[in-house]
Amino acid sequence: MNGSSGRTTVISRTVARIVVPIILVTAIALLFRGHNLPGGGFIGAVLAAAAFALVYIIFGLEFIQREILAIKPDGSEQHRLVETYRWMASLGLAIAVASSLAPLAFGAPFLTQGVLFLEHLPLYGELEVASAFAFDLGVFFAVVGGLLTIVAEVGNE
């Protein structure tokens, strides 16, 4: 399936160009609103991974490397892409672990979550932030990274 453009139609390529950004924005929206409305880190992550998979099927792996991640081809290019995904997964896990360990610094048990009340912010005034959002962000990156590693590596074959 590496051949890409030779095997996909103009229609699919055009649709993908329009649809992929919308999917990605939706995914991020799902992540952000997840705490109050249907959505969340996991759903957003799977959707984002699906968007990348779509690009990958329609345009091929090289396109993602060249155009989106700006990795120059150097022979072992596909492995470098997977490296990026793996880093993303590790980053996600690191965020999740770090946000769970943070309460320990304030004398609270591991994984304590709560609501932070930020006041006197410009534009917003007062803002309520669930500390669990940092954990959700970790979930998002871990799942996107993990799934894309699988998709890219399986697709390489």
């Binding site: 969340g40 998979a53 896990l93 993990g146 590693t149 699988i150 998709v151």
Partner: protein, 801 residues
């Protein structure tokens, strides 16, 4: 006085700390690391001496696993101090001796680190006042022994020996653990102790109550046997003695330290530690305890002494002799009279003094004469004069020759066997007879060892070098100790052994004293018989040696059982593996699913669950329609002509389920189902690209029927599981709590409130209330991706290998 907590902690953990730093030290000091390690041992010895001089007696305890009642407790008393003195004192000598012996040997950093770690574990065993702590340190000694026996990692004999000792001692330790847990259970059954306890001193204090519970439930003998198995495997008692001669593959200092003076004493220590628990003051002369341990000990003492006579290698001779003397101690502890306890307590010290010296002598012989074969050694006196003196003193003590210290403890054993026999009469007369019979062989091999230094030099014995000072001083110190104990036995008994005696008998105990016999008592006659018969038989040593070797064939040898058992297991695994591990994914799936169905249904049957009552369906028409479509799609999957068609049809089922979720008011589930379904479809299509477009020929009818039945069973099990699990309703408290705490609090403090802070309860549960589950799940996702990465990348590599 109570022991000082800091000092006791330092005694146990200082060697471990030093072990951790040994690799670094080795980089700086090189081979002189031996003296660093010896210095650490010396500091430990100093700390033990400090506690001894302060008259420490009692328990110190640190929290370890408070929720289970397990603590890191250390109990200091006579027995603990004796073993701690042996571990640290002999440790100093052995580590110094290693400085000479290990010159130019490989793997020294590992060697010294492991020896130090072993010393810490042994001190832990000696001082442990908690069953779990005792077990942990106990297994740590097995582990370090494994590493040290296998020191020469490249040699097959070392590998075999290391595996053998590990298999035997660790499995024995597991039996012991079961025994410990039964004791803990018993402590929970009595009203004498509040709750359950892991504390050894507390168990001993309430010995009568514990014994009562065990006797009433018929568990007394099982517990004795389980704990006895731990002691017997560790102390190389018949028939588990087979690992000890092989363990001589280790460098000689290790044999002297672990396999004569300390680690093998752990089993003896265990028997001594639990003696007051199982042997009350008014115990029967021939109770369960005596039957188990006196018989085990005397059997080992005799059999191992005969095997020592059959040995052709000096280290093998000493190994069997060690097993034999440990048998003597265990037998002594086994007898329900005070002489037995005295003999055991005293012989622990005596045996350590002469046997460690003899091992170091054997190391000098092997090192300087280049051979350990008894037939090729002789007349060493001329080349090794100092060593010869040490060897003669230690051998005579080992033989139980008066007036050396070994004589006193052996006299006490004879005395206890005699009294046991006199009280019981009849069959019990076997005890003194066997004790004398075994001692004759002890006498024989002891004299044989000493005779290596006399007579003519055999041909072929090359030039014998002088040993370095570092190798000569440690055995000389031990030899001097043998002489000191022989000259003033009562000084040592008063100083320490009396307290050891106090630790191994129930209740308050007084010290004891020994005297050189001046009149003809029955047990003096036993000693005289031993020496006279031994001396008369010595000229025929070679014939006895050959006769025993000729008798040791096939199933008579315990090794035959061990080797055949291990080999049988290996053969069975080799035969079974290809049947289970076919390398075909479908085999694993079939067995995996079959196991799932069997276990789940078996579990339901065992728990006796009943199906919930059926009270009519109440679903709306749209849901019925959606599920009908899913049903049709599910059937269509089975008749799909190609992989792609099958997968696409399968995804219809998935999407229908998503719609069902929407209709059932579960938007989060629906969203998840939709995106996951989409992604899975994409991944499937990517994989299918590599597979043949169409299915192969229709499979065997029998296989089809089997697969069909399995599918039905899996479906049925899942259906049943859903029915049962949805029937249960969680505690309404839980729901109220989640609803109350999920959102943003109406009234709150200035900056932080321990609330979920979100109106989507599902997500709040995922990332807040059950955050640790989610943490586990994302770890699994990342691990799965790494696993797939490895599988796909390594696949080609695996094929070429």
């Amino acid at each position: 006085m109570q022991p000082t907590p800091e000092v006791v902690l330092a005694v146990v953990f200082l060697p471990f700390l030093a072990a951790a730093f040994t690799p670094v030290v080795y980089r700086i000091l090189g081979e002189r690391t031996a003296y660093f390690a010896a210095a650490v041992a010396l500091v430990t010895l100093g700390l033990v001496t400090d506690q001894y001089l302060a008259g420490a007696h009692g328990t110190v305890s640190f929290d370890w696993i408070p929720s289970l009642g397990v603590s890191l407790a250390f109990h200091v008393d006579g027995l603990a101090l004796l073993i701690a003195f042996l571990a640290s004192g002999v440790g100093v000598l052995i580590l110094t001796y290693s400085g000479g012996y290990m010159h130019g040997e490989p793997g020294q950093a590992k060697y010294y680190a492991t020896l130090l770690a072993f010393m810490g574990s042994m001190l832990g065993v000696a001082l442990a006042g908690d069953l779990v702590a005792l077990f942990v340190f106990w297994e740590l000694t097995s582990l370090s022994s494994f590493i040290l026996i296998g020191h020469y990692t490249g040699e097959e004999a070392s590998q075999y020996a290391a595996r053998k000792s590990m298999l035997i001692t660790v499995s024995g330790g597991l039996f012991m653990l079961v025994g410990f847990l039964l004791l803990v259970w018993a402590s929970g059954q009595t009203t004498a102790i509040e709750g359950t306890t892991y504390s050894i001193p507390l168990l001993v204090e309430h010995a009568d109550a514990i014994r009562e519970v065990l006797t009433a439930s018929g568990l007394l003998v099982p517990v004795l046997v389980l704990v006895g198995l731990g002691a017997a495997t560790k102390s190389a008692q018949v028939p588990f003695h087979v690992w000890l001669p092989n363990a001589m593959e280790a460098p000689t200092p290790v044999s002297a330290f672990l396999h004569s003076a300390t680690m093998v004493k752990a089993g003896v220590y265990l028997v001594g530690r639990f003696r007051p628990l199982f042997l009350p003051e008014d115990a029967a002369v021939l109770g369960e305890w005596t039957l188990v341990f006196a018989v085990l000990g005397l059997l080992t003492m005799t059999v191992a002494a005969m095997l020592a006579v059959s040995a052709t290698d000096i280290k093998e001779l000493l190994a069997y002799s060690t097993a034999s003397h440990l048998g003597l101690i265990i037998a002594a502890f086994g007898f329900a009279n005070s002489y037995g306890a005295e003999a055991g307590a005293f012989h622990i010290l005596n045996h350590a003094s002469f046997k460690a010296a003899l091992f170091m002598v054997a190391g000098i012989i092997a090192h300087e004469a280049g051979t350990r074969n008894i037939d090729r050694l002789g007349g060493l006196r001329k080349h090794l004069p100092v060593t010869a003196v040490i060897a003669v003193v230690a051998s005579l003590s080992m033989a139980g020759f008066p007036p050396f210290n070994g004589f006193y403890s052996k006299e006490l054993l004879f005395e206890s066997t005699y009294y046991a026999a006199e009280h019981m009469g009849g069959v019990a007369w076997v005890f003194p007879v066997v004790a004398v019979f075994g001692s004759v062989f002890t006498f024989l091999y002891s004299i044989k060892f000493a005779s290596l230094f006399f007579g003519d030099e055999p041909d072929g014995l090359g030039h014998v070098h002088r040993p370095p000072v570092a190798m000569l001083v440690p055995p000389a110190i031990l030899g001097a100790l043998v002489l000191a104990i022989s000259a003033q036995p009562n000084l040592f008994i008063e100083g320490l052994i009396g307290d050891v005696y106090g630790s191994v008998v129930p209740g308050e105990a007084h010290s004891f004293s020994v005297h050189f016999p001046t009149e003809l008592t029955p047990y003096v006659i036993m000693s005289i018989i031993t020496i006279v018969v031994g001396a008369a038989a010595f000229p025929f040593y070679d014939r006895i040696h050959d006769a025993i070797n000729a008798a040791l064939r096939g199933p008579v040898r315990a090794n035959w059982w061990y080797d055949n058992f291990v080999e049988g297991l290996t053969t069975a695994s080799v035969a079974v593996t290809p049947k289970i591990q076919t390398g075909l994914l479908r085999t694993y799936t079939t067995w995996g699913l079959f196991g799932f169905v069997a276990l789940a249904l078996g579990g339901y049957a065992a728990a006796g669950v009943s199906l919930p009552g059926f009270d009519g369906l109440s679903v709306s028409i749209p849901i019925v329609l959606v599920l009908l479509v899913a049903l049709v799609a599910a059937f269509a999957v089975d008749i799909a002509p190609s992989h792609v068609a099958g997968v696409l049809t399968l995804s219809i089922v998935g999407f229908m389920v998503a719609i069902f979720y929407i209709l059932a008011d579960a938007p989060d589930l629906a969203l998840t189902q939709l995106v996951v379904e989409t992604l899975v479809l994409v991944i499937f299509l990517l994989v299918l690209d590599r597979l043949p477009a169409f299915y192969g020929d229709a499979p065997d009818r029998l296989v089809s029927v089997r697969d069909g039945l399995l599918s039905l069973a899996v479906g049925g099990t899942v259906f049943l599981t859903v029915l049962l699990s949805t029937n249960a309703s969680p505690d309404p408290l839980l729901r109220e709590f989640i609803v109350a705490r999920a959102g943003v609090p109406a009234e709150h403090g200035p900056f932080f409130a321990d609330y979920g802070g979100g109106s989507n309860v599902v997500n709040v549960i995922l990332v807040d209330f059950r955050g640790i589950d989610t943490m586990g799940e994302i770890s699994v996702v990342v691990m799965a991706s790494i696993a797939i990465l490895t599988l796909i990348r390594m696949r080609t590599r695996g094929e070429t290998q």
